[in-house]
Structures are given as C-alpha cells and as structure tokens.
C-alpha cells in the first residue's frame, strides 16, 4: 500500500503541493485528475524520488521512501512512465527494455519478463532492433510502458499516457492496463482524458492548486456536479 500524508513539495520558494493526503491500496487502480499546473506531475515525480518533499511522508509497504533515491524506489517496486515518454531515443527498442531491467531484482528475471512484454506488444518484438526515436507515437508509448514494466513493478505510475495519441491506440493501452491490474498490479494514473479514465479506475482524486479537493469512486465522480462542470462539460472539452 502507498500512503501519502500531508505532502508538501516546493520549487524554490514556490509551493507546488500544499499538503496532499492520498492512498493507493495493493492492486488498486486509482486516477489523479486536475487542471494543468495543479501539481499532478509533481506528485508522481516526488513518489518516484526525482523530487524531495519539503514536508510530509510517503510510505510504501511499511517503509518510508520520501528521502530514498529513485533507484531504491524502483528496486522496491514503484515505476513511473513519465510524461512525454522520455525514451532513450538514440538506442534500440531492445536496449531501452534492457535498461528498464537495470535493478538487481529485475536483472534476474529479464528474459522471462521481456518475453511477457513481447507477448503483450508483438509490435515491439518486430521492431526490437529499431532506434526508439524512429517509432510512431503509439509505439513509443507502448515502449515507455514496457520499459517501466521491465523493472517488475508492483505499483505503476503513469503520467498522461494518452497525450497526443489516436483514440484507438489509447484504447489498446488502457486495455493492457486493465490486464495488468487483473494480475494484481497497482496503478496510479494521471490523465487529461478524464471521462475515459474515470470509467477505467476504481477510485479517483481531484487535485487543484496543489490540494486534493475531491475523492471518490470513478463512476460516482462521473456524476459529480463539480467534476462535470470542470472536466466533462462542453466548456472543458477543449482541454480534456
């Protein structure tokens, strides 16, 4: 279980998260929605260890991880698929996947995990010798997701996985997420595509201005007046 208590994160003097509380239970699929600049990416980066909180605590499986370096957090089983994919563009698909299994724990099961991933995304198997930067947007997102899976995570964090992708590809990526979730993996997903993601997850948090302003079951939030007006209404359609 991931437990976040009163988390505050600042960029210099600027406070980006004003005391966030959140939990993700084992194997649970949770969404984090909110407008641009609300602090969603900041929260995911802080969980991954790329940013240090100013105050508050992050606990993962009864261990405090808020001061742990990123490599230890990956080792413990939390992987982030970052915004914009951040692939190693000059390297091949296969090299990207192998780097995903850098930790000791993942090294040992590298072969088996790579086979699982090639079964999940046959496209990547066909393109394994291709340079990652030359893949299509959809293939790149598949690779980014697969690279994170190579670390054998128990909790997967995703930052805007649908950004810039055709609806069909988004559908297939969401389908894979559902499959992973069925196998017991926890998922925390940040999405602009609020309607689709609220139908996907069990629970969701709404983050605005660095504060959690709402929380509830995904389907329930779909009927919530504030959510409808801010994220699902005709005015919001342009950005969501």
């Amino acid at each position: 279980m991931l437990e976040i208590k009163n988390l505050q994160v600042a960029y210099g003097p600027l406070l980006a998260l004003h005391g966030v509380d959140m939990i993700v239970r084992p194997g649970e699929m949770v969404a984090l929605v909110g407008p641009n600049g609300a602090g969603k990416s900041t929260l995911l980066k802080t969980i991954s260890g790329l940013l240090r909180p100013r105050a508050g605590a992050i606990r993962w499986q009864d261990e405090t991880i808020d001061t742990a370096p990123p490599q230890r957090i990956v080792e413990r089983g939390i992987a982030l698929v970052p915004e914009g994919r951040r692939l190693f563009a000059a390297m091949t698909v296969r090299e990207n996947l192998e780097l995903g299994a850098f930790t000791e724990r993942a090294q040992q099961k590298k072969r088996a995990q790579m086979e699982r991933i090639f079964a999940l995304f046959p496209r990547l198997f066909e393109r394994q010798q291709q340079t990652a930067g030359l893949l299509s947007g959809g293939e790149q997102q598949m690779l980014a997701l697969s690279r994170a899976l190579m670390s054998l995570p128990r909790l997967l964090l995703l930052d805007e996985p649908s950004l810039g992708l055709a609806p069909k590809i988004v559908e297939s990526i969401f389908a894979v997420l559902i499959e992973l979730h069925r196998d017991g993996m926890g998922v925390l997903i940040v999405e602009q595509n609020v309607h689709a993601v609220l139908e996907l997850v069990q629970r969701a948090y709404i983050l605005e201005g660095g504060r959690i302003v709402g929380e509830g079951e995904g389907r329930y939030l779909l009927d919530d007046d504030h959510v409808r007006a801010a994220y699902l209404g005709p005015l919001a359609r342009g950005t969501s």
Partner: protein, 290 residues
Amino acid sequence: MILAQQLILGLLVGGLYGLAAAGLSLTFGVLRVLNVAHGELLMLGGYGTFWLFTLWKIDPFVSLVGVAPAMFLLGLLLYWALFQFVVKAHEETRIKNSLLIGFGLTLVLHALAIRFWTADERAVTTAYAGAVLRLGGLAVPWLRLTSLLFAFAILTALHLFLAKARWGRAIRATAEDWEAAALMGIPVGKAYLLAFALGTALAGIAGGLVSVSYAISPSIGLEWTLKALVVIVLAGLGSLFGSFAGGIILGLAEATSVVFLGGPYREVVGLILFLIVLVVRPQGLFGSRV
C-alpha cells in the same frame, strides 16, 4: 614527397588528438561539465610514464597498464572531491561552475608538476626510439605508428564497453536523459563517477603515448586541452570514433598547413577549422546533437 611525409606525421599525431578528445568528449557528453584541466591530466599521465621509465626502466607501452588504473583512481578522487558538487547544480550552471573548478585545477596541477619534475622538457627515449618503417621514400616512425594503433585499440575497447556492458549502457542512458536513467534504477551519481574516471584514464593513456614521441613539460596542458576542444567541435559529441576521426582530420590539416604556410601557422589552422565548423555545421561533422 614533403607533403606526403608531413601527412603521415599528421595522421600519426592526429590519432593522439583523437584520444585526448575522446576523454574530454566522454566527460562533457555525460556529465555536461567541461573539464578544462583535461590537458593537465594528460600531462600527468605523460609524467607517470616518464617516471616509470626513468626510475624502473619500464617500457612505456607496458607502463600504461599501471598508468591507466592510477589515472582512473585519480579521476574517482577528483570527482569525489570536486566535480560531484558541480553536477548537483542545474544543467545551465554546470558548465560555468566546471570552468571555474577546471581552471583552478589547471593551476594546481601545473604548479605541482613544476615542483615534482621542474619546468624542463622531458621525453621518454627508449632504445628503439629511432626505428623507422620505410615505405618507398617515406619514413614512418615505428613508435608513433604503434601509439596510433594503441589509441585505436583503446577506443575500440571503450566503444564495446559503452555499447554492450550493463554499466556502459547506463552511462549512455545517463548522457541522453539523466532523469529517465534514474527512473530505470540507474544510480546516476555512480554513472557520472564512472564516466569521469574513464575520461581521466583516457587522458592519462593519451599522455603516456604523447611522452614516447613528443616532449612533455608542465605547460603542455593548455595546448592539449585546446586541441581536444577543437576536435570535439570538429567531430561533435556522442561518438568515440567520431573524435578519433576528428583528431586525424586536425592532424592532417595541420600537416598540410606546415607544407604550404610554414610551421608557425600550424596552431592557427586548427582554430580556423574550429570557426568554420561552428558557423557551417555547429553540431560537428559526425555529431548527432548540438
């Protein structure tokens, strides 16, 4: 005939330019810090070989087996004592801070070298120093040819390490995107440390090879840093063999200028090439990114 002879000498010295540049390119490309003391590190490697030769009569090519690891250790120490604080800074301020630290290091190493070895020019003169390979009317000094082949072999080994080894790939990943590398579980600090130590070892090896065919003195550092910088601009970052080829191009260009313009203009040619490449192809001849 004179041109051909000069071109051969240019090719041979160019390989060493390439090796010197490869080390600087590695630290610059991975850590995004510019170590202007690279030439001084090269000088230290040269004196290391000189010492082993004069004190214990160890053949200079054999002594590299000791000089390279010693310089690797020195690289670890320098990173730990100085450069680890630079890479913690934001990427834009890294270069500026590293310049300051590098210049300071330059002064310290220069002064230490004068203290230990005096300001005299030194050279490693082996029994076989004068041996020459005759090709028609052309003379190819065996020592310099061996050095060139050594330089190439070392770059090939390093290339294979970066391409295939787990930590080699970690270094490349860190160079491309250190945040993404951290998310893979790569300890970015260790990748930086390793890259810096490897760059320092390369400088040391280059210095050892320089000492067998060319004079070394405490003040050669700046000259070699400049050569390495010219080659990096010429070749671009990101490829060891690009650096090697760039070094050879610089060596050949200098040799040509010696024939047509005379010796004094040798240094100028490199800097003119530097300017032309910066204007026409700022990413370098073989570079993939700016």
